[in-house]
Amino acid sequence: MKKPHLSLPVILALAVSCVASRAVAQASSQPADRTPPSYDMKPQSLLDLDDLHKKFVSLAQAIPADKYTWRPAPGVRSVSEVFLHVAGQNLRFASDLGTTPAPDFKSDGYEKSTTDKTKIIDQLNQSFDYAHAAIEKMANIDFRKPATKYGPDANAGDLVYLIVTHTHEHLGQSIAYARVNGIVPPWTAAQAQKQGQ
């Protein structure tokens, strides 16, 4: 039986093909996005979330316990309900980012589950830590993952954006609640004191 003989061009073509196939195999066995993006929103969203965490907790500490049931009008969230709404949403959003749901967290009735200042501050702390951990573990490519629960074209990046904007919105609301009750946000008081010195 005659052995087939391959000439130089055929061998060359085979060699190039092998290298290309190996490159494709390598690319598919590793995360597809291995180069740095032009902008990675993760570090700034984490910084922002940490700042929100600090502000929410310091505001919650500054508001007297007897004001936790204050609300601007009937049917509108009270101080404690706003704080627990923020905590609940942090837990829900983080869970939707693929983190294991927080144990013992029950969405139904959570906002009205307590008016106890200490417990609420504890819940705020836990929820911000939980949301931070969920974003922290995301790789750049995870920001592209679909999050269709939030819209047909929504992705995890939109959800991270939503966590940040949602929390800012309720921080603004909480500051207004504090101000109308005669409480100056601690960071503003600290700044004023620094300027006065």
Partner: protein, 225 residues
Amino acid sequence: MGENGAPSGRRFDSLWGDSSVKKLCLALLAFAIIHAGTSGNAFGQAGQPAATSAAYGLQQGAVAELKEAQRELVSLAQAMPAEKYTWRPSEGVRSVAEVYLHVAAGNFGLTALAGVPPKPGFKFQGYEKSTTDKPQIIAQLNESFEFAENGISSLSDADLAKPIKWPDYPTVGDLILHIVAHAHEHLGQSIAYARMNGVVPPWTAAAQERAARRQQANPPTRPQD
């Protein structure tokens, strides 16, 4: 040299003459070329990362969030009675009008800081207290949101990585995140101001109306005895 000492060129000639071998060679070459083109990282220069776009479309996300803030803030500004524009929760805290103009100032000023050509004639100093006129403030709000939305849309992915002179927000991308967060924080403040003055946000009022209509159309049935 070939197996029997014959020059390989001749063997090539004879093999090349075979159409199945010709097809095989062409197919292999085509495969090699196609995959060389699609596996850019493997064939790229070491230490020279390819210019990839951001994993998340920050500009589109920011514009969508700004449009939502615009819709809600403008409808709230319309719902607030003109005489409430000077109301403030306590002394030394921004009034209704000042919060709206503060948001507009942020949209104009921060977007320009991100590298967008500034709005002609805009001066940050004194802007928040420049007027308490309801129609003028609503017009400023709309103009400022459109300025920010168009400005952010015009930025490329490469622009997002550009440094800016602000320690808290070292890059344009970081600043964009802040522009959106800033608008939403003051939206929350404005909703609270509205509620304190007995004004229900129009989108909440519309949702309540829809829910009431649904309940009217499908009243809860009494359980059968």
